[in-house]
């Protein structure tokens, strides 16, 4: 399978990455080169093989149902959570207007 400019533009949009027209043109052959190379996987007979879900068998654990189970990431940490935000406002994450 190969991708054209329109498909790469669509992927970039899905990935939320703005690309210029010239970047787009450069990406098409690069992505096609990589995709053509990974294409060889289609020749592998995988009849009856389950896709891997965990590389080392492990069981899912649930943490205690307690907001402050780990005080580091628990409640009352608003200022720490916002400390690295580029535009915090009134104790919230600030974003551009979403709804008119």
């Amino acid at each position: 399978m190969s991708v054209d400019t329109a498909t790469v533009a669509k992927i970039a949009s899905l990935a939320r990455i703005k690309v210029s027209e010239s970047e787009l043109q450069a990406m098409v052959p690069e992505l096609n080169g990589i995709l053509a190379w990974v294409e060889q996987l289609s020749e592998v007979d995988v009849t009856g093989i389950e896709p891997m879900t965990a590389v080392i068998p492990n069981t899912q654990r649930l943490r205690e149902d307690d907001v402050n189970a780990d005080p580091l990431t628990g409640g009352d940490r608003r200022d720490a959570v916002l400390a690295n935000a580029p535009a915090p406002e009134h104790g919230f994450f600030g974003v551009p207007k979403v709804i008119e």
Partner: protein
């Protein structure tokens, strides 16, 4: 005091415990080495000499007070800038995280500080650990301390843990943390003539480690020799309830049980790794390694890992797929860079921020990952890759019914020059051909220096072990180390 920067973990701790020198003297010596090399080698993104001194002062005070000292007491280390460090900028070598100061400490780094280690600084790396040469960092290339004879062309320190490999081989740090997703500890270790081990997936907590491909990412130590790696891995490993894939197993006493005696052990030589056109020096080093393990008492067994050739393409579907999902968090809202063009809405802000913040290789992998996970292509690419990954893991399971460990080269060549492979992403990806299979199977694997090639550059040998058998990997690596007698080091030019 001269000579302190030539010491490794075990020697430093012993010297501090015995009172031969103080931890503060050690930290001061390494701080000076770091500062002196920074312009030429660019191994660090941020240096933290005050942190190294602070940790050393505590060790010295504890010793004076007769308190017990940790297993890493007095050892200043470099911390790959993928580990979140409280209050110290953590960037993953990306502009999108420039200025990010975590409000918490990663589990692995905290364990090292608890064991008495101090931090010299945050080490440079490939951006989001995506690369094999450290050329994708937004903070400039790391330069290897090694050079070809009569040639000043800067060489790649390997990647993604290129700052770590340069720092340890140039004697800027006795040891450093690394992370390995497809070979990022082993390949840079091989390129710079040092040792490094990636443990079994789940041994070291991923909590607080900037995520690249979560089913593959594993932290591990990079140091001068096998013993130092064992000591440091013991300090880093252990169950962490905050990482859902952390192994709930006690940490074995790897250091106490180190032994280079391979009597009764079987070593597998995978025939599929002997590629057409293999570098003759790499092939010779591999043969040397076989002879060394025989000499140590091991029996050599020819084995087959039939799906080896599919490991790289499998990796380059799975790793980008996971990366595209993990890196969705960089949105210009919660931390890091924000690019808000005039009049832009939320979606435009996301796209502009990510365009400005991610480097070309990161964008490339996010795009590939987005594509292989997109509707209509998911089964053909991603599901197929996960099935082939299961086959690759099964190959190893079958092989380990016959052998205890597997011996292979670490990388297909010695270090290449910066710029030599960066034009073609595929050519760069091929550098991981020997390291990726063990990553896909979650197995412990170690690189140890084995010799020099015709250009006088280091070559590494790789030992791959069964899941949970770091001891077997460390022991076979020790047997190699004892016979390789690798003492070469780069001549100081920086």
């Amino acid at each position: 005091m001269t000579g302190l920067t030539d010491l490794g973990i075990a020697a430093i701790r012993k010297g501090v415990v015995d009172g031969e020198f103080s931890a503060t003297e050690v930290a001061t010596a390494f701080n000076a080495a770091v500062a002196e090399a920074q312009v030429a080698l660019n191994a660090f993104i941020v240096t933290t000499p005050e942190k190294a001194l602070e940790a050393a002062a505590k060790v010295d005070a504890d010793r004076a007070a007769g308190k017990p000292l940790g297993t890493m007491a007095g050892v200043p280390i470099g911390m790959k800038d993928l580990f979140a460090t409280h209050g110290v900028q953590t960037t993953a070598a990306s502009k999108i995280l420039e200025g990010f100061k975590p409000q918490y400490e990663s589990t692995v780094s905290q364990k090292l500080w608890d064991a008495g280690a101090g931090m010299l600084g945050k080490l440079n790396l490939d951006q989001f650990a995506m690369g094999s040469s450290n050329e994708t960092s937004a903070f400039g290339n790391v330069v290897s301390p090694w050079r070809r004879p009569n040639d000043t062309a800067p060489l790649a320190p390997g990647g993604s843990s290129g700052g770590s490999s340069t720092a340890v081989s140039a004697r800027l740090a006795p040891a450093a943390t690394g992370t390995d997703t497809g070979g990022s500890i082993r390949q840079p270790a091989a390129f710079t003539g040092i040792s490094g081990i990636k443990p079994t997936y789940g041994r070291c907590s991923r909590w607080g480690v900037v995520a690249f491909a979560s089913s593959l990412d594993q932290a591990g130590p990079m140091a001068r020799d096998v013993t130092d790696c064992a000591i440091m891995l013991e300090a880093m490993a252990g169950f962490d309830p905050k990482d859902s894939t952390s192994l709930n197993l006690p940490v074995p006493e790897w250091t106490a049980n180190l032994s280079g005696d391979m009597k009764g052990k079987k070593v597998g030589i995978p025939r599929e790794y002997r590629l057409d056109g293999i570098d003759p020096d790499v092939a010779k080093t591999w043969d040397d390694g076989i002879a060394w393990l025989k000499d140590a008492g091991a029996e050599i067994v020819d084995i087959s890992l039939p799906h080896t050739k599919y490991a790289l393409p499998t990796y380059y579907i799975i790793a980008p797929a996971e990366a595209s999902s993990n890196l969705a968090r960089y949105d210009g809202v919660r931390y890091g860079l924000r690019d808000l063009p005039d009049g832009a809405g939320l979606q435009d802000m996301y796209a502009a921020t990510r365009a400005a913040g991610f480097g070309p290789e990161v964008k490339r992998r996010i795009m590939i990952g987005t594509y292989v996970l997109s509707a209509g292509f998911y089964d053909a690419y991603y599901t197929q890759a996960q099935k082939v990954r299961a086959l690759i893991a099964r190959d190893f399971t079958e092989a380990f019914k016959l052998v205890d460990v597997i011996l292979a080269p670490t990388a297909p060549s010695s270090a290449f020059a910066l710029g030599e492979k960066s034009a073609d992403p595929l050519e760069m990806y091929l550098n991981d051909v020997f390291s990726v299979p063990a990553s896909l199977a979650g197995l412990p694997a170690m690189s140890v220096p084995a010799g020099l090639d015709r250009l006088g550059l280091p070559l590494g040998l790789q030992v791959i072990g069964k899941a949970f058998d770091e001891q077997g990997v460390l022991n076979a690596s020790l047997a190699l180390e004892q016979r390789a007698q690798f003492t070469a080091r780069p001549a100081k030019w920086w």
